[in-house]
Structures are given as structure tokens and as C-alpha cells.
Amino acid sequence: MSTRRTPGSGAPPALLVPAGVGLLFLVLPLAGLLVRTPWATLPQRLGAPGVLPALRLSLFTATAATVVCMALGVPLAWLLARARFPGRRLVRALVTLPLVLPPVVGGVALLLVFGRRGLVGSWLDATFGVSLPFSTAGVVAAEAFVAMPFLILAVEGALRGADPRYEEAAATLGAGGWTVFRRVTLPMIRPGLTAGAVLCWARALGEFGATITFAGNFPGRTQTMPLAVYLAFESDPQAAIVLSLLLLTVSVLILTVLRGRWVGQP
């Protein structure tokens, strides 16, 4: 990197100045967090009961939500990108709806459908004895609901950018639809899929509104890091800062490793 001439060296001030302001705007709050961190009591605060379980729950539910989003979102993205059917525009608009919906509203909507007396929830409860709200599975559902559009948009974009002639070539070699998808399409869209999964995971990790509405705030079961931060902020702001710092560190670490390894960006 250092041996190459940086393309930014000739950037016009009209771009550089707002870029610098934008960077400051994003980084300053994080710096504020670092400044106010009670470093002296940090180890003991990290060891406080409830911190590690919340972190573990956050990582687990965000990962589970990403898996759910991939299993359902990739086929949906394929449908949006490749299939021709009436009302495709409407479907795409519906799919991206969670992006603009306030997460709390999403949580309320989830409750109305999957709640004990909800449309699907009552049936789930009666048939399988399964109840999503106020459970860890409910956290995963809430996070997946909010994060899925990120994955779908990324994968659909990747599918549109992928050259369909490779799929034709596979077909001429005798490959059926599923083989073409698995052995040709999927490898072609892998960078987009990975980027989408990372975005999806990050969004799920930070999820707050839908989770607290749909899954509640039970330590060890549904209390993820963002919920713990919010709760701590009301009673013990120092603890909130420590929790935030922890969440931040873990996210940055994971995102850096993932980007470096799979997205292939410096």
C-alpha cells in the first residue's frame, strides 16, 4: 500500500473538506466513549454478572439471525433478480420495507402476527407448543426481520451483476437449475453474498427496538448487548459506557477480520 501512489493525493478540496468533516462526525462520538471510559474499574466492571451472558447472547443471536437471513434471503434475492413474475416491483418494495420502518413498529407488527394470540402465533402455539415472543428465538426473529433487507439487497445486486452466460454455459454442459445455482451462480456472487452477510450480521448485532418490543428484556434469555446498554444507562452510566466499549471492540474486530478475509478489500 505504501509503495503505491495513493489515488487520493489529487483529490479536490471541495471533496476533501466535507469528507474530513464526515469522518469526524462519525468518529468523534466513539472517541468520546473512549475518553469517558472508567479505565481504572474496567476489568471489574467487565466481570460484573450479566455482562458476558449479554455479549454471548448478542453474538449468538446475531449469527443465528444471519443464518436465517441467508437461508431465506438468498432464494428471495434470486427470485427478485432472475424470475419474471407479476408484481415483482411490489415484492421488492415490501422486502425493503423493514429498512424504513422504525424497528419498534417492526416489533409491534411481529407481536401482532407471532404473539400468543397473533395470527400465526396462536396456531404455532396450538400446533407445536412453540411461542416466539419473549424467547431467544424471538430475539433471532426480531433481528432477522430487521436485518434481512440488507442481505437481500446485496445479493440481488450481486446476482444482477453476475454474467448469466456462465449459467448458460453450465446448462449446455448438462447442469440442472440447482446444480447451476450451487456450482456456478453461488461462487460468482460470493463477494456480494459475504458483504451482505456481514452487513446483515452487523445490523442484527445492533438491533434494539424490535427486539425489546417483541422479545422483551430478560437477562440471559433476551437481553442482548444493546438492551443491556440501554438499561444500564438509566441506572449506572459508567456501566453503559463499558458495555458500549465492549460491543464496539468486538464488532470492529469481527468486521475487520471478515472484510480482510472474504470481501477482499484492504
Binding site: Y166, E168, L173, G174, G176
Partner: protein
């Protein structure tokens, strides 16, 4: 299909292609009768946009016919009238695409093994067969290489091996050499010819390069605007071009008129004296090298003498190609050939003539240098 594959033996003489390719869409229409024997290589040669690739895609099963039929080895693949349609993956075909379209995440070996795997051959056996094909195209040592590590010529050979590894009854090649640089093309062309000769199924090759067609194909079908305008082997087409496109391809001047004995009268009234007597609608062709250029009207001249105007001058190796357009009839002189004319002169002669665009010149062709033949299509 997989049974055919496992036997390792191409289906032989039964695997011949018989097709009437009709595709109509967006104002373009293709209507091409095509019949290819087992082991025969047929080239579809034509300018860009003539419908060659459409024909290839229809044969491959990537584009349905709107009318006509495709029959391969006695099996009906596409017949809109009776509703028969076999998609690409159920056809016994192999396709070499113009840009090869090798799967980037797979090694050369895995690319070649892809087809056999899809046809139900076991993993180990498919890899073994792929290795044999890679050896056959001289790339046995590159089995583990990813496509981006291969040169253009190597990628072309892997693409050929991949298409042949399914032992197709019909091999389709779309501009197989277009993506190569001139030197590699020469090499790969000769090699490709050897592999095509060894292929027992039918082969259809699409190209806009007459040299590819002449070297690789047993028979050439000239396609223009979705129609076959001429069919024959390289020698017949070179000798008797039937359209301006073909004449330009093979570097001849071509005129169409009405023949009567040793004279062919063109629509613009110019009468050409020809050596071969011909009656009715006829073509007259002659090589640019047969044209002599003079500053003034030659004395005791051949009868085919016209006043022309220089349109352009190009250097071609050791000679100069002069493009001429017809002059205007004036002062009792006849008009020039309104269709224009190409003449090849030596560099020395060009210097002497002092060629410059717009300059008037006299062009002369001896009747003995011309070829005249009937225009009625004989296939």
C-alpha cells in the same frame, strides 16, 4: 445420455444434424436450413448481425425457435409446431463460447470434469476423463490451474476440452478464435482443425473470419440478414462469390447483370466483355490485380475500359489497393462502373500515377481476366 457417455463411444453416423432454424423477434428474422453430417464441420460465415449467433443459440437450446425444427441424431429437440422443446441441458451438445466462459472458481480439470459430472459420471471417473481430455489438447500439466492463470490460447483449449468431454453429438463453436491475438490464432487454428477432424459428431462453427471458415470447415454457409445466401466449400465460394459481402471477403470485384454471349450488361448500362459465354442473369467477377490503371485512355485498349475517380488509397503489403468510383459520362465518353472498383497496383506504379483522392483515371480489365457465371442459385 449418460449411457452414451459411459460407453465412451460417439454415436457415429446417426448423429447428424437436420434443422430448419426460424427465429423471428424485434424485426429480425432468421430462416436457415442446416444439415450437417456426422464428422462434418460446417461454418456459418457472415457479417456481424447476420444471425449466426442466433442460429447457434437456437441449436444450443438457449433460444427457442419460433418455427421450423431441430433434429439431432434422429431425436427431435425443438419443434414449435408440435410443442417439443428440449432445454440445453437435455441436448447432446457441447459449446465453445466466444469468451470461453470457463468457471473462474474451478481449476482447468474441474472445468472439464463439470460436464461429465452433470451427466451422472462419478467424481473420480469424471476427473480421470477430464485429465485425458486435457492431455489430448496438450494441457495435461495445467490441470490444477485456475482460468485466470491460463493464456488466451490455453483457455481456448480448455474450453474445447470441456465441450468435447461430454462427447456431444453436436459441437458448437462461437467465434472460437476471435478473442485471440493474431499470432496465437494462427497456432490455435491449426490445432483446432486437428481436434475438429477427430470429432465424430457434427460440428457447427460460427465466424466472421473467412480464414477461420476456410481452414476449419468442410462446408461454408454464408449467412446474410438471417438467410443463407451461398453454400459450398472454400474453393467454390472463392471462385464464384454470389454477394458483394462474399466478393469483398475473398477480395474480388463482383457485378451482376444480364449476360448475352460474351457480354454482360450491368443495370447502369455498362457492358462488360467476358471470356466465358453466359446467358441470362449472371455474375462477373475479377480480381483487383487484374485491373490496370492509366492516366489517359489507353490506345488499342481492351474493351473493358472505364473512366473512374480515385476514392481512396491503401497500402497492402507490397502493393497498393486503389478504391475507385464511377466517373460521369461526358464528352461522348462512357460512364464508369457505378458500383465502384478495387484495383491493386504495384508501389512503383502507384508512385508513377501519383494517386490522390478525386483524381480521374482510366481503369481497364482484359476479358480473359474475368469470370462470368449464372446468378441462379445452385446449392
Amino acid at each position: 445420455m449418460s449411457a452414451e457417455l459411459q460407453s465412451g463411444e460417439p454415436a457415429g453416423a446417426a448423429t447428424a444434424l437436420d434443422a430448419q432454424l426460424v427465429v423471428a423477434r424485434n424485426g429480425f428474422s432468421l430462416d436457415l436450413a442446416l444439415s450437417v453430417g456426422a464428422g462434418e464441420v460446417v461454418a456459418l460465415l457472415g457479417p456481424n448481425g447476420a444471425g449466426k449467433t442466433t442460429a447457434l443459440r437456437a441449436l444450443a437450446g438457449l433460444l427457442p425457435l419460433t418455427d421450423g425444427y431441430i433434429r439431432l441424431g434422429g431425436r427431435l429437440l425443438d419443434d414449435p409446431a408440435s410443442g417439443v422443446w428440449q432445454p440445453a441441458r437435455r441436448r447432446a451438445i457441447g459449446v465453445v463460447f466466444q469468451e470461453y466462459l470457463l468457471f473462474g472458481q474451478l481449476s482447468a480439470l474441474e472445468n472439464v470434469a463439470f460436464g461429465p459430472r452433470c451427466h451422472g459420471v462419478g467424481r473420480a471417473q469424471a476427473r480421470q476423463r477430464a485429465q485425458v481430455w486435457l492431455d489430448r489438447v496438450g494441457l495435461g500439466g495445467q490441470a490444477g490451474a485456475r482460468p485466470h492463470q491460463l493464456s488466451g490460447g490455453q483457455a481456448q483449449r480448455v474450453a474445447l476440452a470441456r465441450a468435447l468431454a461430454v462427447e456431444p453429438g453436436l459441437l458448437l463453436l462461437d467465434e472460437p478464435l476471435a478473442a485471440l491475438d493474431a499470432r496465437t490464432r494462427l497456432e490455435v487454428r491449426a490445432e483446432l482443425r486437428r481436434h475438429l477432424a477427430g470429432h465424430c459428431g457434427a460440428t457447427v462453427l460460427v465466424t466472421h473470419d473467412p480464414l477461420d471458415a476456410m481452414v476449419l470447415a468442410d462446408r461454408i454457409v454464408i449467412v446474410e440478414q438471417g438467410r443463407a445466401v451461398q453454400t459450398g466449400d472454400a474453393a467454390a465460394i472463392t471462385r464464384h462469390p454470389r454477394t458483394e459481402y462474399v466478393a469483398r471477403l475473398v477480395g474480388l470485384n463482383l457485378y451482376r447483370g444480364r449476360g448475352s454471349g460474351h457480354t454482360v450488361t450491368l443495370p447502369d448500362g455498362v457492358a462488360l466483355s467476358v471470356a466465358d459465354p453466359v446467358e441470362g442473369e449472371a455474375f462477373v467477377a475479377f480480381a483487383p490485380a487484374a485491373v490496370a490503371l492509366h492516366r489517359s485512355r489507353p490506345d488499342g485498349s481492351p474493351r473493358n475500359t472505364w473512366p473512374m475517380t480515385v476514392d481512396g488509397v491503401d497500402r497492402h503489403g507490397d502493393h497498393v489497393r486503389v478504391q475507385l468510383r464511377g466517373g460521369v459520362a461526358a464528352g461522348g465518353l462512357p460512364a464508369g462502373l457505378s458500383g465502384g472498383l478495387a484495383a491493386d497496383v504495384t508501389t512503383a506504379a502507384a508512385a508513377e500515377l501519383g494517386l490522390s483522392p478525386g483524381q480521374p483515371l482510366w481503369a481497364a480489365v482484359k476479358a480473359t481476366e474475368t469470370r462470368a457465371y449464372p446468378a441462379t442459385i445452385q446449392r
